[in-house]
Amino acid sequence: VSSARIVACAESPYTRHPPADVTTESLLADAFVRALGAAGLDRDDVDGLGVASFTLGPDHAIDLAWKLGVKPRWLMDDPNGGASGIQLLQHAVRAVETGDASTIVLLAGDRLDRESFRALVDNYNRTTAEYLAPLPTGGPNALFALLTQRHMAAHGLERADYGKLVVAQRRHAATNPGAVYREPLTLDEYLAAPVVAAPLHRYDCVPVVSGADALVVTAGNEGVAVRALRALHNVDDQAGDGLATGLAAVRDALWDDAALGPDDVDLLSIYDDYPAMVLVQLADLGLATDPKRFLAEEVERVRLNLSGGQLSAGQAGAAGGMHGLVEAVARLLRRVDDARTALVTGYGMVLYRYGACANAVVLERT
């Protein structure tokens, strides 16, 4: 059993319209202070720092360490968006196990307004800047509209089927004071929302917010342990249909490592940039292998994306890759509903047609 434990987490509240004096680094600093407070640790205890952010540049983790007054002996930047939270956790756990660091704070966050969001999506990578932005695709919504059409055709799904997932997550969001969308959503309201790029309408797309998330990883016996963590990126060179991620190839290894099965975990935090991708990842991991049946019979019952997910809480740039971890860790540490285990996934980095990064972690309260 690993000696590393996640002992605290925090989220700097997500906002749609951040005041002018709020910056990416001020959001990361806020999450840092909140996480240390939750852990009962001092700044001087911290000897490891990892950061994921799209908008921190030209600064890096070392600039943040300097401005926070941290003197790390383990330091890491991870630019991999929706996969960055689990990426950072993967490396932090090993660093604590080997003694490279004893107390690591992992941060993820972005300040995104209309202008900076546009700049981010148009320059997401060289391929986007060269081949997609000039069309203009205007960000990932059009690409995932095409992917969702493929998903609908493959599984015989209609808009109302995806609506059941969105409505269920919105119901959970009522208990999350930080969620952008908290009011209940009916299926009729979901269907009547303005179109973004058919078949995607407003509530199929994450609200863009500013915010930050944090995790604290230390050595010890108490807290949340990583039972299993697997990743597989660029599984098909962008040449497929995007309806399977790398998780399908690592599913058996993940559950073997965890000594659990897909039906044994108490909580699910599945990366939800779009409803179709939640269903794709669930199927990859051996849950909801029949998405139509899952949406008809199970989505109301399972404990899935209980913060409301990014679809209700908002997507704060790279913080989206840590949001699900923070949600799951918070519930495990507080023993909400006596939850003991959780599955959290990460997905993202649209290279050209769909996301290329995929990872998943099975967590257990010890």
């Binding site: 790029a197 058919a198 040449a239 047609r353």
Partner: protein
């Protein structure tokens, strides 16, 4: 549209990679090809489509606003 064809194994890719996805070859030649629209959507008046080219690779492109689906 022009796709990159590996001069070693003939595998076509788009956009051009650094090494051929199939054989890791380093040399490519551009080849003109056409394709079939597999999916299409419209965002803010711009029609975006996923086109499967006859040489294999999928290309995301903009459709002429006057063309019919």
């Amino acid at each position: 549209v022009k796709v990159a064809v590996c001069t070693t194994c003939g595998t076509a890719s788009f956009p051009r990679r650094l090494l051929c996805p199939r054989c890791a070859g380093r040399s490519f030649e551009d080849e003109e090809t056409t394709g079939v629209v597999e999916q299409a959507t419209e965002r803010e008046g711009v029609r975006i489509a996923d086109v499967r080219t006859l040489l294999g690779p999928h290309v995301v492109t903009r459709l002429d606003p006057t063309s019919t689906p």
